[in-house]
């Protein structure tokens, strides 16, 4: 554990600088809060403290900070934000690690690639629309009892499981130079889908039933906003909190899409 919990028995404080915004189209502003650090504190427990004591460092009453969160175990992806300039989940951001000394500062900003709803809460609906675009599902014949699924080697399960831990948090999109903020939902279909979606396409192409829709997925990713928009910066794989091999997915889909494109060309489709 860090040294925060035992700084001589007295509580230490950290300063939170938070980029705030009252809603879409409203200007942003910075507010600072001084927060006492509890043992095992994380960014969430500090935001909870601010919610109960919404007064800035200079003594001005303000409103509680708004942010998105749910599981607080880094498996739901909700509480993603930009902390000290780097995108990550705020629940697993431990204060003793990020701000070990009394008076240290932590900066919180909303993700910049998604429209702000309020303060640190952004609208990531585009991500879920992307999953529809690549038909990220296995097209089963309904829920009637039809026996078990296809058998799978442990090695293949490892490949799929790693891809399947993607929690649609959007870290890879925040870090991607090619993925740009788009407020207009009607343009989402032609804007770059980003690494998370490409990797989900691969996940379902790797499953025998999912692969039935492989051509549809590759068609979608060969089109505008698909695989060709990737600039190979490889930032995505560096920020993924689940260490998903995103660049491998992009490469795999790239190869498959090329072959698919040739086939389509010779078929005259």
């Amino acid at each position: 554990m860090g040294n925060g919990a035992n700084s001589g028995g007295r509580t230490r404080n950290v300063v939170f600088r938070i980029k705030r915004c009252d809603g879409p189209g409203k200007p942003s502003r910075w507010e600072a809060f001084r927060v006492p650090v509890e043992p095992n504190a994380n960014v969430i427990s500090c935001l909870n403290w601010i919610a109960a004591h919404p007064v800035t460092m200079d003594g001005r009453p303000t409103t509680p900070v708004v942010w998105d969160s749910n599981c607080l175990e880094e498996v739901c992806g909700a509480c993603t934000m930009v902390i000290n300039g780097r995108v990550r989940q705020s629940c697993s951001c431990l204060i003793d690690e990020y701000a070990p000394n009394d008076g240290d500062t932590i900066t919180l900003e909303p993700m910049s690639k998604f429209p702000v709803v309020r303060d640190l809460w952004v609208d990531r609906q585009r991500l879920f629309e992307g999953l529809k675009k690549v038909k990220a599902w296995a097209p089963i014949d309904g829920t009637y009892s039809l026996g078990d699924g296809p058998r799978e080697s442990p090695a293949q399960q490892h490949v799929r499981y790693a891809l399947s831990t993607c929690m649609s948090c959007g870290c890879c999109l925040e870090a991607c130079p090619q993925y740009l903020k788009e407020e207009d939902a009607s343009k989402w279909d032609t804007a770059f889908v980003g690494a998370a979606i490409i990797s989900q396409a691969r996940l379902f192409n790797e499953h025998p039933t999912g692969a039935i829709l492989k051509d549809d997925r590759l068609d979608a990713l060969l089109g505008v906003g698909g695989i060709n928009d990737c600039g190979n910066a490889q930032n995505c794989v560096r920020v993924c909190p689940k260490d998903i091999p995103l660049t491998e997915s992009i490469a795999a889909i790239g190869r498959a899409a090329t072959i698919h494109g040739f086939k389509r060309f010779f078929r005259g489709a």
């Binding site: 860090g2 708004v66 998105d68 879920f128 089963i140 829920t143 080697s153």
Partner: protein, 660 residues
């Protein structure tokens, strides 16, 4: 015959809600799915260990669906109605098959079959798993199928919408649910939605206890709102405290029972206050108290038992690590690669949140509130299996007295299955009080959620198509009842907004402070061990908090994305549910499963082999609690001991001598 515009509302997009959405949409009825979070972020993602079902390997070792049923009933200390549990156990293998077809990456054997692990309350490997993030993987599979229906226009999602109340019409026998009032959490718009049936799949109420393993939306607010509208609440006092969690500043993080299923051992140093590092303490100076006290089940006794033993060792005997409320959960004797393969998800959580690698250093854990067996009261139509005499204990290898044909335990498609006492209002998943009695066995939660959605989703469809809604669809009703309900919620919302700037920010009326005090009080009085006087004290404290809440003051008057208003509103509903939990606990003068009364240490089938049912009196704000018989005609209640060795003197005395 049926209206073409009939629709079903499902509130909650975790496993139960999504499974229901799939089943209802598949039957051709449009679904409106409401959730406070994008459904992919629902609390089901937190489930780690696995999902139980009889399987071929276990079957050939003497296991059966019936044994799974018997284990679940015994685990629940004979408080669950037995028919639905039998049906669930019988149906379980089909659910695994379906999930497999959907592409869930279940762990595999060398031959490519689904791998299995041990779990609490069973001596057979009957738990299917996907690493240690099984809930996440199952949720994603159902989320993907629902997205498919959404793309086809059969499911409409209302994400970031908060359920505020059910809309009811009619009185007495004619009363039924015809929609809901909900609020957009971004625009704050409040409006009514019509539906021919409403399924509540809103999960548990862990936040009533402050810190728990639950997600931040698990306030129990939605269940409380149904309760205040007249729905009964069953077995509220049955709250599961999970033995192994890591306490944090914001929540307690679960360390899955699968850690023990894969060989994890719970121990403390035999010498009180031993300051050596765990690795330096030799084997014979470690007290494996669960293995000593329960030779057959060892570390895999059900959760309430493991929790009480840990509590006993730490609190009563002062034997916790460094004198603190902590014990070791030790996996360091296992191969690190094996642990990564089978338990990677929780290894990662421990490492990230504690900063120590549990593959090489024993974890420090303590119990935490985890699950509510209690929930909205529901009914069902019994199945075909009605033995003349209830069976005795089922032993492995015995031929089950009943087959696994559909409908043995609960009549398939009966419109009242898992319907609350309000027609057209259903409760599925954790918010449903059925299935788990007084303790839920590990890896049965995912099963009960999906079973509710798949099996009882058909009941919803049949109610809509053949019941009252077939002749009086919600669409045809006068607008007045919808508008009235919506206006009432609007007035409540406006009232809360108007509190901003009052009371000069007195801490006493701060909703966050009230919630914290409620959590601390409920955890202290109404969890691992309870007594009558302490529960009475708790009820007095809750009354005080309710009085303070009546003067609650908010600090944000924004009409846009007002998160603290949503929280403050929920606190009022949580206080009401907290009272039900404490009051039912006070009136249940016995010990059963997770409900341990120090002043009534034994199970009392005569007086309390019954479900507690709470009914809200809106005029007085009081709770009427009455008792309803439990269906125990399939298997006869027997003492629930898990083979405990009573002479635990050995554990207490030897350590001091040997280590000192």
């Amino acid at each position: 015959m049926t209206s073409t515009n009939q629709r079903v509302i499902i509130v909650g997009g975790g496993l139960a809600g999504l499974a229901a959405a799939i089943r209802v949409a598949e039957a051709g009825l449009p679904v409106d799915l409401f959730s406070m979070v994008p459904v992919k972020r629902s609390h089901s993602v937190c489930a780690q260990g696995g999902i139980n079902a009889c399987n071929e390997v276990a079957r050939q070792q003497g296991y059966s669906e019936y044994q799974h049923f018997d284990e679940t009933i015994y685990g629940g200390d004979f408080l669950a109605d037995q028919g639905p549990v039998l049906e669930m156990a019988n149906w379980a293998p089909k659910i695994i098959d379906l999930l497999d077809r959907m592409g869930v990456p279940f762990n595999r054997t060398a031959e490519g079959r689904r791998d299995l692990r041990l779990f609490g309350g069973s001596l057979f490997k009957r738990t299917h798993f996907s690493g240690a993030t099984t809930g996440q993987q199952l949720l994603y599979a159902l989320d993907e199928q629902v997205r498919r229906f959404e793309a086809e226009g059969k499911v409409s999602k209302y994400e970031f919408w908060e359920f505020l109340r059910p809309i009811l019409v009619g009185q007495g026998d004619q009363r039924r649910c015809v929609g809901i009032v909900a609020q957009d959490m971004r625009t704050m718009q409040i409006r009514p939605f019509r539906a021919d049936a409403v399924v509540m799949a809103t999960g548990g109420c862990g936040l009533i206890f402050g810190k728990s393993t639950n997600s931040v939306i698990c306030t129990g607010g939605a269940a409380s709102r149904c309760y205040q509208a007249g729905a009964w609440y069953g077995n509220a006092e049955m709250i599961q405290v999970h033995p192994t969690a890591i306490p944090g500043a914001d929540k307690c993080r679960l360390m899955s029972e699968s850690a023990r299923g894969e060989g994890g051992r719970v121990w403390v140093p035999r010498k009180k206050g031993d300051t050596r590092r765990p690795k330096d303490i030799p084997e014979n100076e470690r007290w494996y108290f669960l293995e000593e006290r329960y030779p057959a089940y060892g570390n895999l006794v059900p959760r309430d038992i493991a929790t009480r033993e840990i509590f006993d060792v730490c609190v009563n005997e002062g034997m916790g690590i460094d004198g603190q409320n902590m014990v070791y959960l030790d996996l360091t004797h296992k191969d690190p690669d094996y642990l990564t393969e089978k338990l990677g998800g929780i290894m990662e959580i421990y490492e990230k949140f504690v900063g120590v690698d549990p593959r090489y250093e024993p974890m420090k854990i303590f119990p935490s509130v985890h699950y509510s067996m209690g929930g909205l009261w529901t009914t069902f139509t019994p199945g075909a299996y009605q033995p003349a005499e209830p069976a005795g204990k089922h032993e492995p290898g015995m031929i089950p007295p009943v087959g696994t044909e559909v409908g043995q335990g609960m009549a398939y498609g009966a419109p009242n299955n898992m319907m609350t006492n309000i027609a057209g209002l259903y409760a599925f998943g954790e918010v449903n009080f059925a299935y788990h009695g007084a303790t839920r066995l590990g890896a049965n939660a995912l099963l009960s959620c999906i079973f509710d959605g798949l099996f009882n989703g058909v009941s919803v469809v049949n109610y809509v198509r053949e019941g009252v809604p077939s002749t009086q669809p919600a669409e045809s009703l006068e607008a007045a009842c919808f508008d009235e309900a919506s206006s009432a919620e609007q007035a409540k919302y406006d009232g809360l907004l108007a509190t901003v700037g009052t009371n000069e920010r007195d801490e006493k009326f701060n909703p966050y402070v009230i919630a914290r005090e409620m959590g601390e009080e409920m955890t202290a009085a109404s969890t691992v061990v309870k007594t009558g006087p302490r529960l009475e004290q708790c009820l007095a404290k809750l009354a005080e908090l309710r009085e303070r809440y009546a003067r609650v003051q908010l600090s944000d008057s924004a009409g846009w994305t007002n998160q603290s208003l949503s929280f403050a509103r929920a606190v009022g509903d949580m206080l009401i549910l907290a009272e039900v939990i404490a009051k039912a606990g006070l009136l249940r003068e016995e010990s059963r499963g997770s409900h341990k009364r120090l002043d009534f240490p034994d199970r009392d089938d005569e007086r309390f082999g019954k479900a507690s049912v709470a009914e809200f009196d809106p005029a007085t704000g009081e709770h009427r609690i009455f008792w309803r018989d439990v269906q125990t005609n399939l298997v006869k209640p027997r003492p629930r001991t898990y083979g405990k060795v009573e002479s635990d003197q050995k554990g207490k005395q030897e350590p001091v001598g040997s280590a000192g």
